[in-house]
Symmetry: C2
Amino acid sequence: MKRTELDELGEFGLIKHLTRNFGKMNKSTLKGVGDDAAVIQYGSGNATVISTDMLVENVHFDLIYTPLKHLGYKAIMVNLSDIYAMNAYPRQVLVSMAISNKYSVEALDEIYEGMRMACVQQGVDLVGGDSTSSLKGMTLSITAIGEQATDKIVYRSGAKAGDLICVSGDLGAAYVGLQLLEREKSVFLANPNMQPEFEGQNYLVGRILKPEARKDMVEFFESVKLLPTSMIDISDGLSSEVLHICNQSKCGAIIEEMHVPVSELTYQKALDFNTDPMVCAMHGGEDYELLFTIDPKDAEKIKYNLEISIIGEIVPEKDGVRLQTKAGRMHDLIAQGWRHY
Amino acid sequence: MKRTELDELGEFGLIKHLTRNFGKMNKSTLKGVGDDAAVIQYGSGNATVISTDMLVENVHFDLIYTPLKHLGYKAIMVNLSDIYAMNAYPRQVLVSMAISNKYSVEALDEIYEGMRMACVQQGVDLVGGDSTSSLKGMTLSITAIGEQATDKIVYRSGAKAGDLICVSGDLGAAYVGLQLLEREKSVFLANPNMQPEFEGQNYLVGRILKPEARKDMVEFFESVKLLPTSMIDISDGLSSEVLHICNQSKCGAIIEEMHVPVSELTYQKALDFNTDPMVCAMHGGEDYELLFTIDPKDAEKIKYNLEISIIGEIVPEKDGVRLQTKAGRMHDLIAQGWRHY
């Protein structure tokens, strides 16, 4: 029997391959595999928007530098981010957990306290889940459920040539924060008496350990009556997400490097690490900002929102997906997001 | 710091403990933690019923005797069973998977083919999920989503004294089937050239490897306009589930052992294994039949359904939860369901 390794397909290729034979039998299924969340509508009223993520110890998180409370907080936040990426409001979560008996009840209390803080902050109810043992380590599976009117749900597929490409907040900080944690981990492993040096780095470390889902952006869109033409959250890195939008909207894009928002702290610390700050911003991932496109006639609506940067423009598909560097050169945009296989 | 071991609380105690501080902020949350599924309603129309389960290799399944296709089929079925246990109809599933690179794409194809067969048979759409790597083994997390009118959803909490306690199908076969598989596993491990001896045991092995969720029962209830007063599916064993119903309905029960349905095959094979067939039926679990209670005035409606057995009666809480043995003795019912911690 032929043996194809998982990494030959990659995560997105694998999901596409595995789900290729599944049809759609229910008219209540408005959107299946292939966006930030699925969309379901039973009867009239708001549609249900639903997304799920799995987090595996030592693949997605490292308990050497992740406080348990932060792990719980982040696990919830990154799932809510997927619901906001549909321009929807999360209302409920389900939490499943496989844990080995190396964990005590008190350790789980810490995780759940972090989850509770995220739920309270975002106005979301924990409504169910599963809890079981594992032979080794911890695996979390979180499902977020939200709602939105069907005509306000924003997919990855609606961008069209001429649309402005926008991003919330700033990028690359989570990646640089992770490098800081990794450096302190090696220092700690070499000498367990060393204390971590994070002074002045709160912002960077906070971006990787305690990301905030951009509920405020969805509320802002509502307040100015702006409906983005497409949207996705930035979990794998800006490049990867731009390519998803272009792929599903059947269009191209030009990203202008000089407009990609990078904080001063990120910039300086990246240079300290001999890393190109723009590489961190383009490929770092885990920022959980929103990438979205808007019709140019809506540009006026975002003009005074300092949280939003216009970083490029959607172009016809034949023009490709490209990056214009600060030096004025044009490169094809390639995805170098985090690979888990 | 105090250290409390997980098994001091048990699975249900642990979930209760961990979720004790979570409040309810959204009026769309009709039912949270504590039933077979959560119930959510955005606006009017049918409510959304949602449930999730995690399956861990070598805790919930053993790939030595579980064909991958069956694993996929069963993973879907046991989740749909939770939706039927709410008297609702499943319409969608989300499938998440953490897998080590010992698995090939072809192996995953087998799992997904089994999932597809279950989805097609039950009229359910796969609408999303997540796929990631694990350092070791496989963990599956399945979320099932369904719908029902809010006044037709059946909870664990509605049983009242005088109600008849009913069960679909027969019990204990899955447990005996598992013993068969375990025996053949030890034979195989001792001598890999031995072929398994399952002749005439298709029913028993099928019950553990390929359970069928009881969609037909929910359809039957609809056809005869019967609304059970409470319902739960039998995953941990009859005793455990009766206790859940009694606990949440604040009532007692008398189960009559002589009316607990056990197939002839189960009975004989249990005796071959020197096991009490009734212990298999009461505590075996994994049967995925439905346990439900009905108002005695509805008894007429189930009279001609040979798939339903009346096995006892709900009594006042002060009378306890008891089993009347075939010999006429009364015992307190205790839960000995499968423990995963």
